[in-house]
């Protein structure tokens, strides 16, 4: 994992594809296309977690838990629990799951399938979704700083910025 300093923003940990991070530090995932940035926040402790999820199902693979929706949620919950966080204090936000191009054969609906898988996982753990910016056809970069509350900043490819 690495850090970068975009403009005047605080130094954030960059979460690459298939990676995740748990803690109080600022975190960012750049250029989410069909990937999902899943953010879990514990407002009591002021900590949280972000994963850059690429695919809906691990199919039993354990080598890169942040890469798949099912394993990412499990590992985030485990690491949050180790820092003293209880699942009942957690809330979730989702960003990404776009369909960047429609003209190719292949895994067309991967963004939708990622979003569905993440939502199903959250539901089964009883974690409420407090905000989402998913679908569409544009890439997104997302920023989250657990110490400053559960505000998630999003910048789209066309330059539009928003918060959820």
């Amino acid at each position: 994992m690495d850090t970068q300093q975009p403009g005047n923003e605080p130094r954030a940990i960059v979460i690459g594809i298939g990676d995740y991070h748990v803690g109080a530090e600022p975190m960012t995932s750049i250029g989410l296309g069909s990937c999902i940035g899943l953010i879990l926040h514990d407002s009591k402790l002021g900590i949280g977690a972000m994963a850059h999820i690429m695919l809906p199902e691990s199919g039993g693979k354990k080598d890169r838990p942040g890469k798949y929706a099912d394993t990412a949620l499990e590992i985030m919950l485990r690491d949050l629990a180790r820092k003293g966080s209880s699942p009942k204090n957690l809330q979730a936000k989702l960003v990404g799951g776009a369909q960047m191009f429609a003209n190719f054969s292949g895994n067309l609906s991967i963004g939708d399938r990622n979003a569905e898988a993440v939502k199903a996982g959250l539901k089964s753990h009883g974690i409420p979704i407090k905000g989402e910016d998913i679908g569409g056809s544009k890439g997104r970069t997302v920023q989250y700083c657990p110490a400053n509350g559960f505000m998630v900043k999003i910048r789209r490819a066309d330059g539009d910025c928003s918060e959820i």
Binding site: I17, I30, G33, S34, R64, M100
Partner: protein, 198 residues
Amino acid sequence: MDALGELGNIGASHAATTLSQMLMGQIEMTVPAVEIVDLADIYKHVSDETAALVIFQMQGEIDQAGYVIFMMPLSSSIRMTNTMLGMTDEDREINEMDESALNEIGNIMVSAFLDATAELLGIVMLPSPPVLVIDMGHAAIQQLLAEVAFDVNEVVFFHTTLVCDQYSINGDLLMLPEMNTLSKILEMMDKLLESHLT
């Protein structure tokens, strides 16, 4: 690894020559790097800068072979289409004329790239019709990775940077082979080297 570098070199230099003829300007090209990149580190190679990406599937005698991508930062794209279309305004939105010019440039360059590499390997490799995306480079590439890196955590990039100082244009030619294709290409390269040695 050296063999792969040479393959990329031949393909990229054909593409660079083609682009330089189209722009009637001097194109400098870096020696293609064959990079084995961990998924989590892709952002170090492809940023979320808004870019024009012309994306092709490799087709022909190799099925589901992977992708070839011509990628240019948006500012470079506009300077390039201005050069081709005889315009000067750089501070404008991309329009339909730019889009078809970009598709065409991508098409010609990627065809040159694939022709040269396929000829070396003695097979037929063709580009699919181009798909143009104007978006964050990383987001577009990431979706392609979801297809080629389903089972793996590392991907092989063939990466060449093309620079034209005269018009301050720069772009990248990326080949993203599917894993099976890569091993097939390596096999063919091995055979090729053996036949040259005997």
